[in-house]
């Protein structure tokens, strides 16, 4: 493994947790991915009347069970997003065999991305308020309406006393959160950090992306010829990150190394990416330098791949500027084709998918409908899973509204089972 270009300890990934449209937990996520399925299907959470689309990546039933351990009063105050975040964080901490109470609380940090927070609950509250007349509505229903709700809920439940920070830079929020965790761990501020993102579907984002005509009536098809837009999704992904010294000290196993990260802003437009992709190029180059890896080291790119006609071409151009002709040989993993676009949580769930590939030793097949678009000829894994050779390095990138870009580099010497 190449030495880190930056000083500071190596940062290990020691635990993973996920709530996705495939179900509650890592097992459901892994099964869905490796069976090459899409979890994008007719939406039941709210009415789609008046919208061009009827589908989304909706997390199946299980929220009540996930929160059943909490007293009713605490439960009533949490949002759907909080529930996803709590379940993913608990699973991640359990898989890392991390007993948080055994660690100095101030040395444990938490970094969470979220775009919608408790917006769904806010919408339902407002809807009821319009017909409530003089009647007041219970305030607990919107007690966790704010974006920082998921991070606060995790911190309370797991007893995290170090920095607890929420990122809301749209679709790059979770990636930014993971980068911030890396910096905190390297600086010595924390020894352990939970990092990820959580978002639930809500009517504002569903209607908003419909109004922007940025959605596909069929499940989204990143990098394919017939793609017409994105599919929205919901869920949460959480990584347990810790310094190598701390992990070794407690006998924890490394699933992979978070080798580096980089971020940037296009400073260009509210929604459109810089057509030259300079911002994304900068974020990727910063991440590669930070990780101390060369272009030739990258085996897989977990692309942002929203499946809007413009995004995939613009993203491809930026990737081509960084990787040149080599890009054709790098496998592209577009996780949104399985679960949709999880907005503030997408970077976390996509990092979890990339880490699953590193631990399983293979890339899952991408569900495909059409041919790969010659304008963005991604080397997709089609049909059957594709084995990775080790050491293996994955780059995960996200581009956001506002031009905020983030890139993460994960690396592993061997799959988990060997």
């Amino acid at each position: 493994m190449a030495a880190n270009a930056r000083s500071g300890p190596r940062i290990w990934v020691t635990g993973l947790g996920a709530v996705t449209p495939f179900g509650w937990g890592m097992e459901a996520f892994a099964r869905g991915l490796y069976e090459g399925r899409t979890a994008i299907r007719p939406l039941s959470l709210f009415s789609t009347d008046g919208h061009r689309t009827r589908i989304a990546g909706e997390v199946p039933a299980g929220l009540e069970d996930a929160l059943a351990h909490l007293p009713p009063k605490q439960r009533a105050r949490l949002s759907r997003t909080d529930g996803f975040a709590l379940a993913a964080a608990r699973e991640a901490a359990a898989s890392a065999e991390l007993e948080l109470s055994e660690h100095g609380r101030p040395s444990v940090g938490l970094f969470v991305g979220s775009s919608t927070g408790g917006m769904l609950e806010g919408e339902r509250f407002f809807g009821d308020l319009r017909t409530a007349g003089n009647r007041r509505l219970a305030a607990s229903r919107i007690a966790s309406q704010q974006h920082s709700g998921p991070a606060d809920a995790i911190a309370r439940a797991l007893g995290i006393g170090g920095p607890v920070v929420t990122f809301s830079s749209a679709c790059s929020a979770a990636g930014m959160a993971i980068e911030a965790a890396l910096r905190s761990l390297r600086s010595g501020e924390t020894e352990v950090a939970l990092a990820g993102g959580a978002d639930s579907l809500c009517e504002l984002t569903y209607a908003g992306f419909n109004s922007l005509r940025a959605v596909d009536e069929q499940p989204c098809r990143p990098f394919q010829t017939g793609r017409k837009g994105l599919s929205l999704g919901e869920g949460s992904g959480v990584l347990v990150l810790e310094t190598e010294t701390h992990a070794r000290g407690r006998g924890a196993r490394a699933l992979a190394e978070l080798a580096g990260a980089g971020s940037s802003c296009d400073a260009h437009h509210m929604t459109a990416p810089d057509p030259l992709g300079e911002g994304l190029v900068l974020a990727i180059e910063k991440a590669l330098t930070d990780a101390g890896v060369d272009l030739e080291d990258i085996d897989v790119i977990n692309a942002h791949g929203t499946a809007t006609p413009l995004n995939d071409v613009a993203e491809w151009k930026a990737l081509e500027r960084v990787f040149g002709a080599r890009l054709a040989r790098i496998a592209i993993q577009p996780t949104k084709s399985n679960v949709g676009h999880l907005l503030g949580a997408c970077g976390a769930v996509e990092a979890v998918a990339a880490l699953l590939a590193l631990t399983q030793g293979s890339l899952p097949p991408t569900p495909t409908v059409d041919a790969v678009d010659p304008e963005c000829p991604a080397n997709l894994v089609i049909g059957a899973a594709r084995a990775l050779s080790y050491p293996a390095t994955v780059l995960s990138v996200n581009l956001a509204f506002g031009g905020a870009n983030v890139a993460l580099v994960f690396r592993s010497d061997k799959p988990e089972s060997s």
Binding site: K73, A76, R135, A139, S140
Partner: protein
Amino acid sequence: MNPSPRDKASTADIRTRIKRVIVESLMLEGLTPEEIGDDQALFGEGLGLDSVDALELVLGLESEFGIKVKSEQLDREAFSNVNALAGFVERHLELAGSMRAARK
């Protein structure tokens, strides 16, 4: 369930109903109305209620007693314990009664 404000309610009856509102509207698991003392502090060290609970409690009292509580009428004193709350509710019931009488 909810008698109209016109009904004559004794202070003891009001206290009992307030305790039921506290347990039900605040979803206090494992606590019965009978276990709440008349002078027991509701917030902080007592029952451990917080500011969100205070909002819920006002809602519960409005619905139980058919009163309307304005935010400027809310003070810490009135919400310190069940005895104080019973006095607060009685004053609102009397006020509601006299307003109805004035309209007749």
